[in-house]
Symmetry: D2
Subunit: 331 residues, 4 copies
């Protein structure tokens, strides 16, 4: 391709314009006051929560979380898979090495008891996880206009994940785009359009609206399960940046996918993760990534009901920019 530097600059400008234009039209900074740290989750009211609960019929609970272990999707490196380390074991108990420490700590004999204990080391975003509103910046700012420097080595002074720990109980709607398209998995690089989403929802006879979480199944996680390759960080199907206005107008509060990054990779414009910049930084949406939606999708296909109560409270890790989560759909 014969592209001069001038051409590249022009392309970049156009792309920037696209993203910046969406932001100029859609940004919600200040909408919930200058001190807000909740973002779109402000839209979820008790009425929404109660309605989500009221939709529960059979009392089925379906896990949406991938196991946290060494078989996880990370290829190694700094965002490694979770490392569980035992600090007391049943084998210790069997060998009789615990009695002395029980005596030392508690001054008791403890002749019958034994115990196991452990610790975990994990990147907060190594598996099924929520991004906090402090995870992404655009032009040096995070959600609601706070400076990026509100996040330092001491963690997030604002927009930390802990603010959401009682906010992620709401109605969820699954859009099984892979099934709608008749494929096991959408191709890496496939940008899911608003038409795709609307078509999927229509085919499923459901809608989304204010206060809902939209769970979008691409099929990629299931396809790569156990043989992850570049699943975490590589090319992936995902939402188009051009879905931004629709995400804003529907007043959806959370978008969840079975990919590592919600949006399509490679990106459609010449900037890294533009939908993150619009949706997290300016709409205040909760992005949920690496959710395992296969069991839920199978269940929805069977009973034809694609909406459910969605309970996915992040751990209140003070100042964290992400959190693992024991997420469940309740039908």
């Amino acid at each position: 391709m014969n592209t001069s530097t001038a051409d590249i600059d022009e392309v970049a400008d156009i792309d920037t314009d696209v993203v910046q234009n969406y932001i100029d039209r859609l940004s919600r900074w200040g909408l919930w006051g200058p001190e807000d740290q909740l973002g779109a989750l402000n839209l979820v009211t008790g009425k929404h929560v109660a309605a989500a609960a009221a939709g529960v019929k059979a009392g089925k609970v379906i896990s949406l979380t991938l196991p946290y272990d060494q078989a996880g999707p990370q290829p190694g490196g700094l965002r490694n898979n979770p490392i569980l380390m035992t600090t007391a074991t049943g084998t210790d108990a069997a060998a009789g090495t615990q009695a002395a420490s029980i005596r030392a700590v508690f001054g008791e004999n403890g002749t019958h008891v034994g115990y196991a204990d452990d610790a975990i080391f994990m990147p907060t975003q190594s598996g099924t996880q929520w991004d906090s509103l402090a995870h992404v910046f655009r032009d040096g700012q995070m959600w609601n206009g706070y400076p990026a420097t509100d996040h330092s080595s001491a963690g997030a002074a604002r927009n930390g994940i802990q603010h959401w720990t009682d906010r992620l109980v709401l109605r969820g709607v699954l859009a099984d785009v892979a099934r709608y398209k008749g494929v096991d998995a959408l191709e890496p690089g496939y940008a899911i359009s608003v038409d795709d989403l609307l078509g999927t929802l229509a085919a499923q006879h459901c809608t989304v609206g204010t206060g809902d979480a939209l769970l979008v199944r691409t099929g990629q996680l299931g396809q790569r399960r156990g043989q992850w390759g570049d699943f975490a960080g590589g090319a992936a199907p995902g939402l188009s940046v051009h879905a931004a206005p629709w995400l804003a107008s529907t007043e959806i509060v959370a978008v969840v996918t079975d990919t590592w990054g919600v949006e399509v990779r490679p990106n459609e414009v010449d900037d890294f993760q533009p939908l993150h910049q619009i949706a997290i930084v300016h709409l205040g949406l909760a992005f949920g990534e690496i959710f395992d939606l296969d069991a839920l999708a199978a269940d929805c296909a069977e009973d034809g009901r694609y909406q459910f109560m969605f309970a996915a409270s992040p751990l209140p890790i003070t100042g964290a920019v992400g959190s693992p989560v024991g997420a469940v759909a309740i039908k």
Copy 2:
């Protein structure tokens, strides 16, 4: 005290008899088959879950999880408070040090974007947490009779916490014993009796039954908040070992407290944590510890409703003997 060795042995025998007698009468090993790894949570059916959801009225969501951070209750040492470490910061973004790595990893300019990332190191039982059925052994065995050596440095080959990730959505009932007793907090060493529990429930005009989680508020967590002292590991109010038969007969599936160890410390008999040995090892109960029940208690006192939907899915950390949890009560 002039106690001969013979006397001590006699006392130990008596105590052992008490615990062993309860076990002989109450043990549920084999009840759900020789391969069961769920324990009492087998008792929760879809009907129970649906009923719990049906009880939701206002759509209020109340967090029951203490923040995971350095202000937590651990005194230091091996079961230290959670350590959050940032691996990318907003200050990096502001300083312009991220552009090169985005280019290196993704081959893109990323001129507008910045990001933060982090990792956590934490003992699974350092804060609000579920004990798995592999956490405690009696005489070399864990729940359902599996040998303690099924837990090794490789984690729990059986009874790991991951089995419960879709099982802890159920009806919760708060027994605010501290309020019932008219104190801010029960004294360390106070053994909560079945009469205390029944009295509290009666005063609250509620009952517990099959498939319920019982949340017992002693007030200790609130009293020690921020000035923890020996909260984690020290003397504490808690359930009497003699509550074991009642826990079995009510078919409660989970017991949660605002203390570090559910049962009273020091223990009432000459063995370490006897109720753990009976209730976890032989009844297969889920024990939830260091739950923050104060906001829930205040809400229940206000509206007079002490039952709620309880969503507290542990992280499916494969082979772990405990898990942090983003627990919520939904009313």
Copy 3:
């Protein structure tokens, strides 16, 4: 004390002048070229190393490193004591749980063998440790004038500890100031003057010079051993900021103490750790902290020889700002 704001500002200015004046007179930035990342350790030549080795007579090896474990000096918190976690244990081997994994990984029976393995989590500066030249900044710059932003979440792009891994074999000289002063330990807040150092060295019949490491014993570590209190981070005896010109003129390359921070705390001027700012940032000195000098001091007192070969290579942890070290004196 009746001090007006104006007075405080004046004091601050004076103090700043003191520190800045030392820097203006003494700074070595650029002395070893604009790309240097070694600092004063450039002064150690093969001749110095050979002379240090030539001084070895009896072949005695004395450890200067405090054990890395939970009994260490840190009070908890983020700079916690080292946490060792086992990932395979002898108790596992005894219980027979390892055979399967040996078979799985190596395809062999391994009927006789067993193994233990472990991992460590530790702040690099939690115990006996070297500060790298990237550890401290003054006015946004580190050693040799590199910007502070050369250190980010990705570690130190310049002045990382790895550059010194083959540089810390040299002649060491112990100045046992506590012994010279006839006390078990100097008082917290005691500023060790050049006169104190010269008096100590004279009494010991030794001198320091180009390429030497000066190990200064205050006695504080020994006094606090096992009952650390605020040892790590609190008030401490240590070098006076006014020793800076002497440190520069002697061409000493490393200063090591049995305290947490080399210099006296509280500081003598109204700025935090001014000697760090002068000696690390502008002289390029290696600061060694929390070294255990008691056994060495006892040996020196016995044989009257206060100089020795000092082998204290930091781990080459790429980009780290400090490193634990297995430090030894060889006499």
Copy 4:
């Protein structure tokens, strides 16, 4: 191959006999008393240390340690490469986020100062490392006959690495077998025989004896550097199990290689790591693994001197079964 079970058992018996026969002839258990935790390093006397120092001529210091970072040889998984995490950064300092914490902790302004800090998480055996005498068991016992259960989740009650922190300063002799054989690297599976070692030493005009460390260069580390493949854990050249009697008779105290496991892989007999079982468990030798011997080898080839002072003190991590090390050769 048509091998009956009877045949396999016979082979296993023969192999076991080989290993057990060596042990029966060579074991040093009890040689230094029933409480010994040092093993062969008892053989190093002050005379040996002094002689090693006396051999230093030019004062050259050569690092033998591979950098500890994400570019290390581990393929991921539980024995991952070292993870350095920053807990304070220069970018924080530049952004002005540190002033408040200095004020909070130290009550001072700290207007000029900035700082960086970090923590490391690493398996003790992920890179250049010493095995302790608690690392390997044979038939449920470790060095000197202690039971394997002396190592539990609490670490090594006996034979922990800390006992060697002042013991690994001695004379080193490099046997550059790859160079002797005229190859870049010996092939995986190549068993280095005593003849190979003697031939190499003779060609180098040097010998080994009591109290020496023998550093054996296979060339494999250099060949795999940066493209590690299965370097850590895979097939490798290494010492033959049949070198055991020679290792015993020479009274060498440490064996170091540029491979992950000193001995040849796959093993020559039907048991996992038989030389570990003989040399660590029964001879009490120090095994050093993943040492980078290339720079040293180049230097030795140039000056023709293959012996040197070897300073490689492990960190005294209490109860650890291995330790990273800042190892140097001093010539």
